[in-house]
């Protein structure tokens, strides 16, 4: 076990998978000479050379297409698109090409393709560099979508994505970059489709992912002081979703709060809520509560942004509203 930052865990995942499989290559915006905006690919170019670690032009459509074509031929592409917001520049390539090829071609084509991208705010990056757009991708059959809340999962989920035979969108939260934690050394994966129980509890299930998950853990500690024993679940694999794991928790607690940083309207929390209502209605003692960002673009000013992302206070308020 090593202690490392979230950024270094991301870098280590790519390094380990490149060591393990010569068909893995890394390409994207500023991945080679600069080592990416936050250092997530630092040192890879020096270690593996320019044939396997490639800076691309700022041509997002071409970057994703490079991955589609190369992975169709048997390579494993790890593409970096820096900010999730930039995926708007290559939505056709993600939505109509990567997501659909395997299906449209009747399984002739396997696309082991990973797209890494930053999500999230709290660093004053404003509306075009701060979004959490996971719900855009969960709506597209053919893609897998994961998002990590800590260094261990950042490494394990990314490694798993690189080994997966399908296009995977890996969403990394930029506010977590300096976070440190224990991470297994060497090659290490976290399986998709499995929730992680962060805290056991019996009164309410709090479901979350990425940065908001950590706020939920802190909120649960506060709730304990008020006599509410919350169970906190890191959903982390949005597609495939561990709905059975979630339902097992809901059956135990009877109450659900789903918290995420994405805009609440049309967010993936709504889908999880609908699934719970559909498959676990009889377990529920109270309405399902969602906590998300308001229906506005992400504002720049710290004075505004601090009211934008869900925080511990809002999560606690949502939980308490279920006890009446």
């Amino acid at each position: 076990m090593a202690t490392m930052t979230y950024v270094n865990a991301i870098r280590d995942a790519q390094r380990q998978e490149m060591l393990r499989d010569p068909k893995v290559f890394v390409a994207g915006e500023d991945v080679a000479l600069m080592g990416s905006s936050f250092g997530q690919t630092g040192g890879l170019y020096e270690e593996f050379g320019g044939e396997r670690v490639l800076d691309t032009p700022i041509s997002e459509g071409q970057i994703v297409s490079l991955g589609v074509g190369a992975s169709a031929m048997g390579l494993r592409a790890v593409l970096s698109l820096d900010f999730c917001d930039f995926l708007g520049c290559c939505m056709d390539e993600v939505m109509n090409q990567a997501a659909k090829m395997t299906y449209m071609l009747g399984g002739q084509m396997c696309l082991p393709l990973t797209i890494r991208s930053n999500i999230g705010g709290e660093i004053g990056a404003a509306a075009q560099h701060s979004q959490c757009l996971e719900a855009l991708f969960t709506h597209l059959p053919g893609l897998k979508v994961v998002s990590s809340s800590n260094p261990r999962d950042a490494k394990g989920l990314l490694s798993q994505a690189i080994r997966d035979n399908n296009p995977v969108i890996v969403l990394e939260h930029k506010a977590l970059n300096p976070m440190t934690g224990d991470v297994p050394e060497g090659a290490f994966t976290v399986p998709f489709g499995k929730i992680e129980l962060k805290k056991e509890g019996k009164d309410v299930s709090i479901l979350s992912w990425a940065n908001t998950l950590n706020k939920c853990v802190r909120a649960a500690a506060d709730l304990e002081k008020d006599g509410i024993d919350a169970e906190v679940i890191d959903v982390r694999s949005l597609i495939p979703l561990d709905i059975d794991g979630i339902l097992a928790s809901v059956e135990k607690t009877g109450r659900v709060v789903i918290a995420h940083e994405a805009v609440e309207t049309g967010g993936y929390g709504g889908e999880i809520a609908a699934m719970i209502a559909d498959k676990g209605f009889d377990f529920l003692d109270a309405p399902i509560k969602r906590v998300g960002a308001p229906y506005t673009p992400v504002p720049f000013s710290g004075a505004l942004e601090k009211h934008y992302q869900p925080n511990e206070e809002r999560i606690i308020r949502a939980v308490k509203s279920l006890f009446y």
């Binding site: 032009p57 490079l66 071609l105």
Partner: protein
Amino acid sequence: MKLTKDAYLSLYETMLRIRFFEETARELMLGGKLGGFLHLYSGEEAIAAGVCSELTKEDCICSTHRGHGHIIAKGGDIHKMMAELYGKATGYSQGKSGSMHIADIGMGIIGANGIVGASIPITNGVAFALRYLKKDAVAVAFFGDGASNRGTFHEALNLASVWNLPTIFICENNHFGMSTPQGRAMKLKRISDRASAYGIAGVTVDGNDPVAVKEATHEAVKRAKSGKGQSLIECVTWRHHGHYIGDPAAYKDPAEQKLWLSEERDPIPRFEARLLKEKVANAEELDGLKNKVRDVISASVAFAESSPDPSPESMYDFVYMPDEA
């Protein structure tokens, strides 16, 4: 370029296979047997035939919504193609793709594509992989004049050039982006002029002459395989039908349409006349080939019609590929 009799007849036969396949598909659709969209390649056969005659099995192509011709010329299985048009379980994609998304990875056919311009940058990904895997092969992107106005075209030419990828760009200029004439969509007359913006070779050839296309492709393959750079080959041609079956193409000038469909312009009668004039083959041999190809296409229709529909539960297959063991 000096060609053997076999090479000439192979070009001719490929063009016939495409034409008869397309015209048969057209009749089938007009007769209510096929659904979906069909974008016919009739009139443009010389391009696919000429280009693919210079490719090996290891070389790869990426195609378009008007892709039947490319797939046939690269050696695609006509039975599986026809069955796919019928949406049958025996089709290339078991009825999941229809006309616009046919591929045969083993034959280097990386896929037709329903989005205009999308396959151009994908071709670079294929070319990158070929180089990465140390294959002595090229990747060829087919696309139309309309696609050359998409950002994907420009991103792709730029990346191929700066990474020196073994990519060849074949622009099939049939004068129309759906209904919009080239002159309303770009100021340039020659699309090959766009090559110079990316530091690659650009040439315009007669796209209705399979030998001219073959010669240009020969040079492009040589250039790409020796690491000397990429090529944009503009092949000037004409789409005999509308954008798709059902488009009456009222936007075409009737005189121009008549000229391009004349025996002097239509690539097939034109090539036939050349074969006869140069005494490569006699009329009997050419008729023999026609009958042979007609039989192949008829057999594909019979195969498709007698094939089963896909089972309802197969709808759920291949949304994802299974994980590694």
